[in-house]
């Protein structure tokens, strides 16, 4: 079974040479730490920066330089700043190659819910609805089950949707799954996790091939 860093590490393998990548808050942010340094990748943050670098050294924080999580950041050579309209031109216009974000629920048809729990305080969708509606390549990073132990991979989302039929891949603490017409196709098991455990933790349709390799991290 993976921890959050393990999920991030596995997802980092999906980041290919030449990709522009948008990372959501939470586990997705950790992905940047695991991307191979022999490939060329640029990170976009929807508040208006391309070419994000690591956090600044202490004392070098700049209030005018943050990411979408409102964290202070730095930029790398080749970076650029732009306004919110051009930022979402990048996203809506499918110029960003890969979007990695968290979710509360994913349905086996690719629907995603990650912004609202009825009855609880709703903070808003931020850029998530634009991201999921636009990106051609969306990977969800999340725990396979919620804190109550209930599956987050469902036949149908129970929470208000963020986007419909848009998720392509899900990487959880238990498995890597691809969204297909027949439901979640089980591609890989986390180290030490059995197909049966995954089956039990998945409420949506699950397609299990004859052999399901263990993840290589």
């Amino acid at each position: 079974m993976l921890d959050k860093n393990g999920i991030a590490q596995r997802i980092a393998k999906e980041v290919k040479d030449g990709y522009y990548v948008n990372l959501g808050i939470g586990i997705p942010t950790l992905v940047a730490n695991f991307v191979r340094d022999d490939i060329q990748v640029e990170f976009q943050s929807e508040n208006g920066v391309l070419g994000m670098g690591p956090f600044p050294f202490e004392g070098e924080e700049d209030a005018d330089l943050i990411n979408a999580g409102k964290q202070t950041i730095t930029t790398l050579p080749g970076a650029s700043f732009f306004d919110s309209a051009l930022s979402f031109s990048m996203i809506r216009g499918q110029h960003v190659d890969l979007t990695i974000l968290g979710a509360m629920e994913v349905a086996d048809n690719g629907d995603i819910a990650n912004w609202k729990i009825p009855g609880k305080m709703v903070k808003g969708m931020g850029g998530a609805m634009d991201l999921v509606a636009s990106a051609e390549n969306i990977i969800v990073a999340m725990m396979h089950t919620n804190k109550a132990g209930q599956s987050k991979l469902l036949k149908q989302c129970t929470l208000p949707l963020t986007g419909v039929g848009c998720v392509r891949k899900v990487v959880t603490n238990l498995a890597v799954l691809e969204v297909t017409d027949d439901g979640f196709l089980l591609l890989e098991r986390a180290p030490g996790v059995s197909v049966d455990e995954i089956r039990k933790a998945t409420l949506g349709r699950l397609v299990v091939p004859d052999t399901v390799p263990e993840m290589q991290l």
Binding site: N47, E61, A63, K70, F81, D83, A85, F88, V122
Partner: protein
């Protein structure tokens, strides 16, 4: 050259009244029009509709207007980090219209550009699309969204000139440029106001035609919400 300089926030906000709709630049606390917000607090105008990506924190940014119960409605994409906001929203004092961030930006830009409506994929199939027209283009579904209409835009830039030209810095740019010219009157506050002709015409982010009033702000606090740092290699700890 058309002269846009006014003396201060007080002069810049002439005509502001209760019941109006405002756009306010900024993302989180980054690039917010601090001087305009302070003046709105001082004026005590009420019953406001505020179009702003976020709603500030309890004791800074738009949170200051919320504390004085000056806001009737917020149009935002994300409104966390604010207890007073949550209290007013849950009690029904405050109306909140949540809009996807890209749609929010594009609705401002549409107002600036004289585009009354456009189609976006964001929110299709979700409650954001409820009551809105949807439509297929090239096999994909889209939602029709309309341009905002507002009385004042309050934006913050890094440098400006007396002709109203603006240059922004870093990610403090965010929503500020797209709100310029998107309301009947655009008020720009800048950290440094220069004589017209001081800025390279190639490097102006927003031409003065989109700005009605400009002033040099004072006492910028530029608060950081999430101070994240790394250790210097070789440093202690």
């Amino acid at each position: 050259m058309i002269h846009k300089e006014v003396a201060n926030a007080k002069e810049a906000l002439q005509g502001v009244a209760s019941g109006m709709t405002f756009m306010l630049g900024g993302f989180g606390l980054c690039g917010i029009p601090e001087n305009a917000i302070s003046e709105l607090v001082r004026l005590g105008v009420k019953d406001l509709t505020c179009i702003s990506n976020n709603a500030g924190v309890d004791d800074f940014g738009l949170g200051l207007l919320l504390q004085g119960r000056q806001v009737r409605k917020m149009v935002s994409s994300y409104v966390g980090e604010n207890d007073e906001f949550e209290r007013q929203m849950l009690s029904g004092e405050l109306e909140v219209e949540l809009t996807p961030q890209g749609t929010l930006a594009e609705k401002c830009r549409a107002a600036q550009a004289g585009i009354p409506a456009f189609y976006t994929p964001a929110g299709f199939g979700t409650e954001v699309a409820e009551g809105k027209e949807t439509r297929e283009f090239n096999g994909k579904m889209y939602v029709m969204e309309q341009a905002f209409r507002a009385d004042f835009s309050f934006v913050k830039a890094w440098k400006g000139d007396t002709a109203g030209n603006l240059i922004f810095k870093g990610t403090a740019r965010n929503f500020n440029p797209v709100m310029c010219g998107a309301a009947a009157i655009t008020v720009a506050e800048v950290e440094e106001l220069l004589p017209a002709g001081s800025l390279d015409p190639n490097q102006i982010h927003i031409p003065g035609i989109f700005v009605q009033r400009i002033f040099e702000g004072t006492g910028y606090e530029k608060r950081i919400e999430q101070r994240t740092v790394r250790k210097r290699p070789g440093s202690n700890g």
